[in-house]
């Protein structure tokens, strides 16, 4: 009897593994096809989003700001991430990263930057979010919480959801900051530039409360960047920053 039991078990195992291996080499649906259709879907959504929110892509030769942004984009690069930089004509002082390797810079924050190095710091920070996969971590956390709560609509559940969904967590912001520091040092720019920018924005924050909400612990962040000594950066750009700002 025991022998027959083991024989049955082996039969089951062989059937399972056999089916799996067979379908791997003679697939019903090829994974390449699935990936392609997924990528197509993703580009479609991206294009719709760009159209809807009227983003303008950097690198095109149409306006001064786009050319300038294109130059900055080539400067701030990462070997793993191939991202697109967009300009949004909104006076909100904010810049953000979107899934699909998109970084969007608003007019508002460009006007606040006294030098291109500060904007490079902002781009590097957003690139950090993309590189460290913060969006997917967000998604998974939300999914996990939804699964745990699973239809039990309680106040605590709603509060947790809102707190975790609205912005990146503070740890993620700190990680992106560290990435920005590294990137700036690679480019030979002192991270103190960002400290200057944040100090300026913080003193203006009573006029722009949402900046404060999405970036808590401003004091900690400013002190992190202030630790680095300030040195004038030796980078040269083909554009005149003041002229570019005036064109907006």
């Amino acid at each position: 009897m025991k022998k027959r039991i083991w024989r049955d078990f082996l039969i089951l195992l062989v059937i399972f593994l056999g089916a799996w291996i067979f379908l791997t080499y003679y697939p019903i649906v090829d994974s390449e096809v699935v990936k392609e259709s997924y990528n197509e879907r993703e580009t479609e959504i991206k294009e719709k989003l760009i159209e809807l929110l009227e983003f303008e892509q950097a690198d095109s030769d149409t306006t001064q700001i786009l050319r300038a942004l294109g130059e900055l984009k080539h400067l701030v690069s990462d070997k793993d991430i191939n991202y697109d930089l967009y300009f949004s004509d909104s006076k909100d002082i904010n810049a953000y990263a979107l899934p699909g390797n998109m970084i969007v810079i608003n007019r508002g924050i460009i006007l606040e930057c006294d030098s291109p190095e500060e904007l490079i710091g902002i781009i590097a920070h957003e690139l950090g979010h993309l590189k460290l996969n913060h969006h997917t971590d967000q998604l998974l956390t939300t999914l996990g919480i939804e699964l745990l709560l699973a239809g039990n609509s309680s106040t605590a559940g709603e509060v947790t959801k809102v707190l975790t969904q609205s912005t990146f967590s503070r740890d993620m912001e700190a990680e992106a900051d560290d990435f920005a520091v590294k990137k700036l040092q690679e480019l030979g720019i002192s991270p103190n530039y960002l400290a200057k920018l944040f100090k300026k924005l913080y003193t203006k924050s009573d006029l722009v409360p949402e900046f404060l909400n999405s970036h808590p612990d401003m004091n900690k962040r400013i002190s992190k960047f202030s630790k680095y000594p300030f040195e004038e950066s030796k980078l040269e750009f083909t554009f005149d920053w003041l002229k570019v700002k005036n064109s907006l």
């Binding site: 379908l23 994974s31 997917t136």
Partner: protein
């Protein structure tokens, strides 16, 4: 056949209540539907609890509960593996390959087979019949119906000194 197995009860000896209990074992796979959470582990827990509760009833009921539990185990493990593998794609970009897709298909087929056989077994159990799954049937029969010798209690109570 062998004298070291308990005899199997025949359908006419089984009252309606036992048949219903045996049938109920195969419905524990719908437990996660009932509880509202889409986690496959709930089915497994429900099957374990059901077996534990019905262990002390007749061997017929015990056999079907055990068979349901043992066959639920690999299905739950495969489903859990699928979920973990799928989530890992979120983290490391969607570069799944044919191995994953074929695993997905095989797991779906396994679930369907399990569903079909369980329903067939539930119907048979209600009729008072034994129904043996391919590997789990023999294993459950071996565990439930084999005559085991009672081990003597070798521990005796003694005063503290």
């Amino acid at each position: 056949m062998n004298t070291d197995y308990y005899p199997i009860q025949q359908p006419e000896d089984l009252p309606a209540r036992e048949r219903e209990d045996a049938m109920g074992a195969y419905f524990m796979m719908f437990a996660s539907l009932a509880a509202g959470l889409p986690l496959p582990v709930i089915n497994l827990i429900a099957a374990i609890i059901y077996y534990h509760v019905n262990k002390h009833k007749s061997r017929f009921v015990r056999f079907h509960s055990l068979q349901s539990l043992l066959s639920q185990l690999p299905v739950s493990l495969l489903n859990a593996g699928l979920v973990v593998w799928a989530i890992s794609f979120f983290k490391y970009d969607f570069n799944f390959d044919n191995t994953f897709l074929s695993y997905l298909i095989v797991v779906i087929l396994a679930n369907l087979l399990y569903l079909g056989f369980s329903i067939a077994a539930a119907i048979k159990a209600r009729q008072g019949l034994m129904y043996y799954f391919i590997f789990f049937g023999k294993l459950s029969y071996e565990i439930v119906y084999k005559v085991k010798e009672e081990e003597e209690q070798i521990y005796r109570n003694n005063p503290p000194i």
